[in-house]
Symmetry: C2
Subunit: 405 residues, 2 copies
Amino acid sequence: MIIEIPTHSDFSIHNIPFGIFSTPTSSPRVGVAIGEHILDLVEVGNTGVFDFNLDVLNKSYLNAFIALGKSVTSGVRRSIQAWLQDDNGPLTAAMFVKQTDATMHMPIKVGDYTDFYSSIEHATNVGKLFRDPENALLPNWRHLPVGYHGRASSIVVSGTDIVRPKGQTRPDPEAPPVYGPCKLLDFELEMGFVIGKSSQLGQTITTAEAPDYIFGMVLFNDWSARDIQKWEYVPLGPFLGKSFASSVSPWVVTMDALMPFKVAGPKQEPEVLPYLQCSEDYNFDINLEVGLAPKGQAETIISRSNYKYMYWNQLQQLAHHTVNGCNVNIGDMMASGTISGKDEKSYGSLLEITFAGRQPLTLETGEERKFLQNGDELTLRGYAEKDGKRVGFGSVSGVILPSNS
Amino acid sequence: MIIEIPTHSDFSIHNIPFGIFSTPTSSPRVGVAIGEHILDLVEVGNTGVFDFNLDVLNKSYLNAFIALGKSVTSGVRRSIQAWLQDDNGPLTAAMFVKQTDATMHMPIKVGDYTDFYSSIEHATNVGKLFRDPENALLPNWRHLPVGYHGRASSIVVSGTDIVRPKGQTRPDPEAPPVYGPCKLLDFELEMGFVIGKSSQLGQTITTAEAPDYIFGMVLFNDWSARDIQKWEYVPLGPFLGKSFASSVSPWVVTMDALMPFKVAGPKQEPEVLPYLQCSEDYNFDINLEVGLAPKGQAETIISRSNYKYMYWNQLQQLAHHTVNGCNVNIGDMMASGTISGKDEKSYGSLLEITFAGRQPLTLETGEERKFLQNGDELTLRGYAEKDGKRVGFGSVSGVILPSNS
């Protein structure tokens, strides 16, 4: 090995995720996370080992690199895996930067962003809290992957502070609405996948074709202002309750790296329409956890969930999204919706964990939380592990700042 | 005048809208519509009259030109107005192309697209048809400009054929959903405005600041698949019922050109919260009409409406959109929602005109329509006129093609 990779690192030799980093002496560029280091792909490219235009590596976003196509990008990943184990290969110690010396940037220029609602546990929990406990799941839910268009401009990279949004709410349904800082600020534990190949307007991507269009995945925190959302969302869906920010982890883990962790999804009943049926499993066993740390204090793990719980998988989401001819572009982001498991310890939002604030959560510090408070740091983490091989996502964090005056 | 401008042209000397055109001998570039011609701004720039980087004119989208800022782009407009009347100025006949010899392209690279729902007549009509006739307007409607995120990738320029979308519907609420071509295909008469200045995440744009962020306007047809929409849209809003296509007119009419047509909007009751109050009028008296032509037959004008009917104006829409700190970028598109007037002859969708298909419309050809049929050409037109000065948008058209097999 050219460099040492700590045991249990998310960024093992089996992973090789791509991201955009800079250092005090280098502009934003494509890198690969490996152990506690980043391999600078511009420096690797300068040795002449790549047969594509090196400009795609010297960019502020991964989009141009991804546009080379999977035959190229998958090849780059395999080559790096081989070179890391080849003391006589092209890699030298000077091509590695310590992650602690680098700044990570938003990895993708997101064109359109779609948020699905594909966890049956989450949809059921929210339906009980917001609508009818007896009919929590709406009639369409088991027939199609419900989703909506989200705001792409406000997707930010991990580490970006989250300013508490202001807006209009109606805390008293008998009184007029009021304006002010959100009082019910929440996170949502999600994962997102990144489109790696563009389609044409009018074209439908089948579930069989879909894997070719998916480049990789990130952790995704869909910050939510529950009081703003509740007042605004009928009849056209979430808008300002979500659009103030969403946060993503900086390393895009490729689907290549995740293939060993494929598992079957939940049985779908009733049977779905043919255009939503899949001939392969496409759920992934990815352990997820959520940590909440009040300002200057230790973190409490407030939820442990798993991406394998998804009722609707990515192939179904993409086939449904394009069944009407809607085109997708490289860099589009499709998020899962909140990933909740079956019990309270696996819920993916404070809304669910605290039953809409009715049952406060006690942190290990002794503090209580119904929703997020200023100074709180919220972190999502995720990794897959099997047969001693670990492929992880690192984390996505954000600290809540008070509203602007 | 260097060239002749027909009386009653939408593209009078008072207009000077910007667009992207190409010809068999020139690549896509910035042009200005004037009468039946296009002034090629690359050719104008080559004379040395502009003091900005001419690269922004040699682009496939207006975004870089708009990014020069209003002080520059408004100056370009005023200069062109002066030069058109100056026989000794920099313009020569060779700089003009006939519109019939040019191909128009999508004028803007749209980042995020938002669709509002700001016509009280439309919201009331739809509420009656889809929900409760007694409580057609939902409780939030008069307190905030309801809106949702739309799909940016599928916004196309006038003249692009519209393939009838396929998807999932549930015509019989007692039976399982079915898959197939949309049977209730509709248009929506809207206008869109284009963001001309970017804001930062966390920044709020006040109604007083908003005019500085708005570059200009286009006609906007928000094609809608009513049967798909009806089944999918609860609880997260419209998705595939809209995302298959939206069409825009090719010429972006600047707010500068529209200022003479400013009028007061409808009185808002109850009074809106302070962040939504405006110190200036910002409705516009823009005559709108909708034409429907069955394949190979004459067009019937099926609706005449006006943009001045909007209950919520652009300043309120933009202030609301950013009140939570959501950032906007140059090229973002914000559409009005369907612009319906008070009576049936001014409704902005077939859903409303035919009362959801219950009362078919008879065209001048004798044919009936409940919704759009294959081969139909649907055209929106709009213009403002006052004191003999006309500023028009031209049109946005699309022909319905059968679904792909």
